[in-house]
Symmetry: C2
Subunit: 377 residues, 2 copies
Amino acid sequence: MTVPSTYLQMFSTLNESGELCLELVEKPVPTPKANEVLVRIEATPINPSDQGVMFGWADISAASTSGNGSKSVLSAPVSEQGMRVMKARVGQALPVGNEGAGTVVATGDSELASSLQGKVVAVMGGSMYAQYRCVDAATCLPLHDGHSAKDGASCFVNPLTALSMIETMKMEGHSALVHTAAASNLGQMLVRICQADGVELVNIVRKEEQAKLLRDMGAKYVVNSSSDNFKAELTDAIHATGATLAFDATGGGTLASDILACMEAAASRTPGAYSIYGSVKHKQVYLYGNLDTSPTVLQRAYGMAWGVGGWLLPNFLAKAGTEVVARLRARVASELKTTFASHYTNEISLVEALDADTVRQYYAKHTGEKFLICSQK
Amino acid sequence: MTVPSTYLQMFSTLNESGELCLELVEKPVPTPKANEVLVRIEATPINPSDQGVMFGWADISAASTSGNGSKSVLSAPVSEQGMRVMKARVGQALPVGNEGAGTVVATGDSELASSLQGKVVAVMGGSMYAQYRCVDAATCLPLHDGHSAKDGASCFVNPLTALSMIETMKMEGHSALVHTAAASNLGQMLVRICQADGVELVNIVRKEEQAKLLRDMGAKYVVNSSSDNFKAELTDAIHATGATLAFDATGGGTLASDILACMEAAASRTPGAYSIYGSVKHKQVYLYGNLDTSPTVLQRAYGMAWGVGGWLLPNFLAKAGTEVVARLRARVASELKTTFASHYTNEISLVEALDADTVRQYYAKHTGEKFLICSQK
C-alpha cells in the first residue's frame, strides 16, 4: 500500500467571537517511532461523546457549511452561556473522533510494532476523524482474522462502556442494574452481556417499538417511561431484580430522581431495609450521557443513602487498572461479531460529516440511528 | 437518687388520616440487664435531624396543641405528597431524640456497667426525649470530672458530624473542604477543628453578621452567598484552598451545583487539570441537611468527574469502623468545653416541646438559635 505524504484530519475550534468551526486540516504523514504504528483509518463511528467535543454548546439548528470538498467548513453560533461553559477551549483547535479501525501501513522497529504490519487493528486514541493516525503499538487491538475495519470501528466506546457498567456494579457492591435509553446500540450490547453473565437488568425505553425490540432480544424487564404506570412498573422491576445502581444516558430532567424514588419504594417493601432516614443500602445513579441537556432535578424523597454523579469511561478505566482493561479488551475482540456487533444506518465521508444538513441528522441522536465515517471514501 | 416506677417518653405517630401527632407516653422504668445502665436524662438537644423524625413532611405552620401538661398532644396536617413520602411510617409510634446526657442511676452487674454508677454520661441511642433511658453501657461516653449533663448533651450529632467531615475528606482523597450554613453551631465547631488540624476550610454563609462571626473566630475563607460577586469569590477561595469536597446543609436549590461549577472554574485555572470532558479530579458535594426542602437543581456544566449525594452520620460511622469511632469519641470528651462547646438559646421541658408556638420557633431553625430539652424540668 502506498502511503501519501499528507493526510486530512478534522478539528473543532471555538473562536472568541462566539463561532464554532469544524474543518479538515492537511498535515504531513508522520513516520512511526520504534514503538509506533501508522494506521490507515478506514472506519470511525460518530458517538454522542464525540459530538460533545465536535459541537459542545453550539446551536446546531443554526449551523451552515461554506466552501467545497476538503475546504468545507461547518460553522455554528454559540450562546453567551455556552461561551462561559466552554471558556477553557477558546482558540484551541481540538482533534475529534475517539475510536476507529483500519490497516497498519507502516511500523517502527520494535518487535510488537513490526508484528502488526498489514494487520487490521482497532484504536481508541482520539484524533480518529482523519485519514491516518500514528499510535503506540500497545494501544492497538488487533482484530481476529476475517474481521474488517468496519466490524471493529466501534470496539471501544460502546463495548467498554457496557462492560464497565457491569464492572462498576461489582466493584461498588451492587447486584443488578437499571439502564435508560436502553434500546440504543450500547443498550442492546448491555442486554446481551447481562444475558451471558446472568446479571439482572431493568431496561427503560421511551417508546413501545423500543420495548418490543428489547423483548424480542429476550430482555426480561423492559419499562416504558411513556406508560401511565411508569413509576409503579419501574418499582416492580427494581423490586424483582434488587437493582440499586442505574446508568442514565439522558442526564437532564427528573429521570435520575424518579429511579432513586422507585429504588426507595422497592426497598420499603423489604422488611428491615427501611429506617426513618430512608433505606440503608446505597442507591446510585450515574449520568454517562447528556441526551437531555436541561438541569438534573432531584426531589430527594429517598432518604440519605443515595448518590448521583457523572460517569466517564476513561476515568473508570484509569481507576480499574491495566489488568481489568486487558480482560475487557480481549472479550471485545473475541465477541466482536456477536455480543458487540454494531449496526450503522449511514456511512459518510469526512467531507460529508461537515455538511450542515448531515450534521443536523446525526446530531439528533435518534435511537437506532448510527453514523460511520469512512475516512478513505 | 430515688428512681420512680414510670417515666414519660415522646413519640411521633403519623395517622392514616393524614395527621401527625407528637405526644408523651407513660412507660414503666426498666431494670438494667447485666451490660446495661439506666440513665436519668437531664439534657437533650433538638437537632435538625431530630426534627426530621418528629415532623417529617407535616405542615408545622398549621400545627396546634390540645390537652394539658403531660397529656398535651401536638397535631399537624400532612399533605398528600407528604403521606406518599412517609408511607412506610404510617401507624408506627416512633421514638424521637438522637442524643442527650444525664446521670447513671442504676446499673447491671457487669464490670463496665457497675463502674458507671453515679457518673454523668452522654448517650446517642435514640429515644432520648424521655426522662429515663436504659442503654448498653458500652455506648455511654463518660464525661470528664466537672462536666455537666448540659455540657455533654450535644456530644455526638454535631461533634461527630464535624469530625466525620474531616475523616471523609481524608478517606476520599480530598485535601480541603467547603461548608455551607457555616455559622451554625456545627459550622463553628468545624472552624475550630480545621484550625487545630491545619485543614483549609471555605465557609459559605448568607449574611454579613454571620461572616463577621466566623472572621472574628479567625476563619480565613468566608464567602457570603448574598454577595453580588458570590461565584467569583467562591471560585477564588476554592482555588486558594484546592477544595474538591463540600458539605451542604441546605440540600435544595442550586447551591450544590454552584459549588461544583466554582470547583470546575478553579480547576480550569490550573494547567493540566483540565480536559475536554472537564477537570479530571473528582468533585463531590454531600448533602447532609435539608434546610431548603425544594428540589436540588444540577446544571451539570462541570464535566463528568463529579458527584452529589446524601450523607448521614450513622452510615458514615458504620463504614468508618469501631477504631475510628473510638478515636473521635475520645476527642469529643477531652475537648468538650473548648472545640465542641455548644450554646443553647432556649431551655424547655418535654411538655413545652409540644407547644405549637414553641414548636414553630425551633422548627424555623434560625442560625445561632438552639433549643435544649431539660427532661427533668
